[in-house]
């Protein structure tokens, strides 16, 4: 039966206070729509995990949803800092936000182990860095063949993972193209999975090109249809990255009052994503140009 539901009910029924939550998407397909609904529903004590917290976790930290942050790069790509995050961490800041810090490779390894349901992942890394000194979860293992020591990171198995995608069918069979990040690993590692898509398509569309399917419906709990749901990040083939918004975030997040106003107006002040898009004055200016590739033959 169909797993299609509204963002409101998907978040209400699958995201609980105290959960370990992953909203993945590496610069591409970051589900701001889900983050905003989590803020609206005033979820608390979340352990937020992402390689790049990005603006979405900066907003969720400012809104008081986060107890802990697990990450590998906390900046505003090409535009400055995540000031809500910094205020929660720096000496003269309000705090307290618990941190668990890795490198990108470390976070990728944690989710890869989680997806394979192994307790750890092995890598040749971290020699000479101070990261293991501040994160006791970065450990090592001895190779049973060469005797050498290799670095390990523990599996990450979130309670909930939210993945934004270009399209899925009603069962949750999900297709993504362009940057893939660690969406597949995060979904397979998670206890519950919410897929948010730009387009709901008939299953025949999925079956026509099965090599594009990144997440199978069998691991998906809910499908939410939310066009423009990744703004200000982008969806290849649907809309461009809103760089002006990322640049503008520097000033907003630097000023707690301005950030508060932003959340009041653009998150609490709108009932849903459609309201957000209207509030933004529409986003047509970001609509993607057409660069459609040719299909391939699956015949035999």
């Amino acid at each position: 039966m169909s797993k299609v539901t509204s963002m409101t009910s998907a978040i209400a029924s699958h995201v609980r206070d105290g959960d370990t939550l992953v909203i993945e998407g590496f610069t591409h397909l970051i589900c701001f729509a889900a983050g905003h609904e989590i803020i609206r529903q005033r979820k608390r004590d979340l352990t937020l995990c992402r390689l790049t917290p990005d603006l979405i976790y900066d907003q969720m930290i400012a809104a008081g949803c986060a107890k802990k942050l697990v990450f590998s790069w906390a900046g505003n790509p090409g535009a400055g800092s995540l000031h809500a995050f910094r205020r929660a961490v720096e000496q003269d800041g309000g705090g307290p936000l618990e941190l668990e810090e890795y490198s990108h490779f470390g976070m990728v390894g944690r989710l890869s182990a989680g997806a394979a349901r192994l307790p750890f992942w092995t890598m040749r890394n971290y020699m000479g860095t101070d990261l293991p000194a501040v994160n006791p979860l970065i450990r090592s293992v001895i190779c049973p063949y060469t005797g050498e020591a290799l670095a390990t990171v523990p599996a990450l198995n979130p309670d909930v993972t939210i993945v934004h995608a270009q399209r899925a069918d009603a069962d949750g069979n999900t297709q993504i193209w362009g940057l893939l990040g660690v969406q597949k690993e995060a979904a397979f590692a998670s206890r519950r999975v919410i897929v948010v898509v730009e387009e709901l398509v008939d299953q025949s569309v999925i079956r026509a090109d099965p090599n594009r399917t990144i997440i199978p419906g069998m691991i998906v709990d809910a499908v939410v249809v939310e066009p423009w749901g990744a703004h200000p990040s982008f969806a290849q083939g649907y809309y461009d990255r809103d760089n002006a918004f990322y640049v503008g975030w520097e000033a907003i997040s630097r000023d707690p009052a301005a950030l508060e106003r932003y959340l009041d107006e653009f998150v609490h002040g709108v009932g849903d994503r459609a309201g957000y898009v209207r509030k933004c004055g529409g986003l047509e200016r970001l609509r993607a140009s057409s660069r459609v590739c040719a299909g391939v033959n699956y015949g035999y």
């Binding site: 590496f26 610069t27 591409h28 390689l51 790049t52 990450f71 590998s72 790069w73 906390a74 900046g75 790509p77 090409g78 535009a79 800092s81 995050f85 910094r86 961490v89 720096e90 000496q91 810090e101 890795y102 490198s103 990108h104 490779f105 990728v108 890869s112 890598m123 040749r124 890394n125 971290y126 020699m127 000479g128 860095t129 101070d130 990261l131 501040v134 050498e148 193209w177 362009g178 940057l179 893939l180 990040g181 660690v182 597949k184 690993e185 982008f234 290849q236 461009d240 990255r241 760089n243 990322y246 993607a288 660069r291």
Partner: protein
């Protein structure tokens, strides 16, 4: 005709890239340097971004390492597990670009915290892929402007290891890559000596050794015969200003 320090930095970095090499690219000057090299002496340069775009040919200046323009028309897009395991850890990356808030005497880089980790005075973004690039890229190029705060005797936190960490040389720690072979600054080029200590190796036009020492937090030693860095060519300046960064997003200063 004049040029900005940033323009020369991009040109100097570009000159370090050989045709056909596989480069792990960052945003800003490294990206400009790579695309300048592609447009001039290294058309076969293969650009890889940690976001998973391989053989990218951006039609506009990418403002993030995950810009959609890096995907459209690229040779391959793969997941990040492949980026770090099949490409980087596999040893396929010949050049990696690094930069940071602090670079010390041994080429160690700090992009994590200023002050202590638990109560930092400034919290920086963290490693991203820098820690593993510093370990695995066959060689790395560091691009950063000189300043006493930016080039301390020792970094507050080693995010990306250089040539000597807490007294231990990188070979002893089993790192596959050669580490930072050049530090491209706004006034000069620093290179490691046989012990791994960064020393002054080449000066930009009109720069005196003391100008460089003024921007370094340790007693900077010099090579006996300092090289002179050539200014950007007419063509390089034209490509950078009118082609690669017309709005001067990264070339301003």
């Amino acid at each position: 005709m004049t040029y900005s320090p940033a323009e020369l930095m991009a040109c100097v970095a570009a000159r370090e890239l050989r045709d056909g090499e596989v480069v792990f690219v960052g945003i800003g000057l490294p990206n400009l340097a790579c695309n300048l090299a592609r447009a001039t002496h290294a058309p076969g340069l293969v650009l890889i971004y940690e976001s998973g775009a391989v053989g990218a040919v951006p039609e506009r200046l990418p403002v993030s390492i995950g810009d959609p323009s890096l995907v459209t028309g690229s040779l391959m897009v793969c997941g990040m597990a492949d980026v770090f395991q099949s490409f980087l850890q596999n040893g396929r990356i010949e050049v990696g670009f690094l930069g940071g808030a602090q670079i010390d005497r041994w080429g160690n880089i700090n992009t994590t915290v200023v002050g202590t980790y638990d109560r930092p005075t400034v919290r920086l973004p963290g490693s991203g892929g820098a820690a593993e690039i510093a370990v695995h890229a066959r060689r790395t190029l560091v691009v950063s402007r000189l300043s006493r705060r930016g080039f301390p005797e020792a970094v507050d936190f080693i995010t990306s290891p250089g040539h000597r960490m807490r007294g231990r040389p990188r070979r002893e720690l089993g790192m596959p890559g050669a580490g930072p072979v050049k530090v491209v600054t706004d006034k000069a080029i620093l290179e490691p000596d046989e012990s791994g200590e960064l020393v002054l190796s080449a000066l930009y036009p009109g720069v005196e050794p003391d100008d460089v020492r003024a921007g370094v937090g340790w007693r900077l030693r010099s090579r006996d015969n300092l090289a002179a860095v050539a200014p950007p060519s007419e063509r390089d300046r034209h490509l950078l200003r009118d082609g690669l960064d017309p709005q001067r997003l990264f070339l301003k200063a």
